[in-house]
Symmetry: C2
DNA sequence: GTAGTCTCGACTGTCGGCAATATCCACACA
DNA sequence: TGTGTGGATATTGCCGACAGTCGAGACTAC
């Protein structure tokens, strides 16, 4: 789910990208911006008319959101925005940690040979943290992890990791849970360093680091179930 | 009103399942049975007429097959059956191993308390092996692993694991790679035993066991790329 | 003979409409 | 008051049709 370079297209006929992709983008943004709230229904035809399209591409877009577990659909009943809580974080992050543990092992050699992608993200993350730019912090933090997974050079692993919808869920957790983004930059720098030094513990470090997000979420909401 | 306890399926008119599900089933079976071969195109309309349905549900079914990586689609070009080789196994199984490692840790307590689901599958697997019933061997072998994941009680983990399409790919590897199903029953029995005894090594055992499948595939095809 | 262009057929992506299904509410009945 | 029944309404699931796109092959120019 890399952000497209968003080419400055003619607003009238910008249909160069499959319609369903655009719709998916709109829906995701709607969810992130709070346009739709948790538990709320998403009516296919309503969205369709709103976007001046037909029902079909909207359906397909919704199916994709379903695989990201952003919405839930029941046959003949339709789709609704998933209620979201710490519980979800607690389920997602162990899986992420497991995947990234594998990734770290597979990517160890590659990243020891050329750790520049990681270092680039660490720098950008530090800069964003200094500026207090939350959106950029999320972006580069996620991108750091994506680089590790990418370096593992395993398309199934990449695909599976992406299917967790990391940036969307991170953004949501910040929005709905007010999750604190504490000094993650430090963690990341240490991990990059460990990769460079072929530290055999790097996998565990990365895994633990991911699991820390859950604690952050837990801590920031001692009440939300 | 509470959710009804899943009334026992009317055998006569079970056409109550969404059409797209039935179509997906037909397509998967078609792939497993060799009705479509690797690299071959799958034309939406052709399938639709063949099954006496419209194009729409076929499209939706194809999308699901795409998330299982059974087919590949290119915009405006359509879907084709993925070419399949040892390479795919080599990519899938490390991911599976990582997920099941997590699962084993999360499920350890539950399964130590009640290992009967595992033991049931081990027995069934042994029986099937004795009979030489390959289909049943696959079924119970997969079901064993699914029980572990299920016991972890983490819906994201379950969902992610399922998205690997374990039984389909296992069946395919047997069909296309003539993968040998050697005495897996023994492994499974040992793992079940380890769970019962709260062996802290059980996660690693399970993970190694999964990775063994790759070696089996490798060994059985020293030629297929 | 080769490179470029045109045309044609096949197929996907999208549309608007219709039937099937779920939900809601008023109303009758015990 | 609580419970069942019938119909009205909102929405999904599916259909048949059409426009846009892609690729193969014929045709032309050199």
């Amino acid at each position: 789910m890399v952000d497209l370079p968003q080419l400055p297209e003619d607003p009238s006929k910008l249909a160069r990208e499959p319609l369903r992709e655009q719709i998916r983008q709109v829906l995701v943004e709607g969810l992130l911006s709070g346009r739709w709230k948790p538990g709320e229904r998403i009516v296919e035809r309503r969205v369709a008319t709103e976007l001046k399209v037909s029902q079909a591409p909207v359906r397909e877009a919704l199916r994709e959101l379903e695989t990201l577990r952003l919405i839930e659909t029941v046959p003949n009943k339709g789709a609704r925005v998933r209620a979201f809580g710490v519980q979800d974080m607690a389920e997602i992050y162990p899986v992420r940690a497991g995947l990234e543990l594998v990734a770290a092992q597979l990517a160890a050699d590659t990243l020891a040979g050329d750790p520049t992608p990681l270092e680039r993200e660490v720098e950008a993350l530090q800069a964003a943290t200094a500026r207090g730019d939350v959106a950029e912090q999320i972006r580069h933090s996620v991108e750091f992890h994506r680089e590790v997974v990418r370096a593992a050079d395993n398309s199934v692993l990449m695909h599976t990791w992406e299917s967790l919808g990391v940036e969307v869920w991170t953004a949501l957790s910040v929005r709905w849970l007010d999750m604190e983004l504490h000094a993650k930059a430090v963690d990341h720098a240490q991990i990059a360093e460990a990769f460079r030094n072929r530290d055999p513990e790097v996998g565990q470090m990365l895994s633990d680091h991911v699991l820390n997000y859950v604690e952050a979420a837990m801590r920031s909401t001692e009440k939300t179930p």
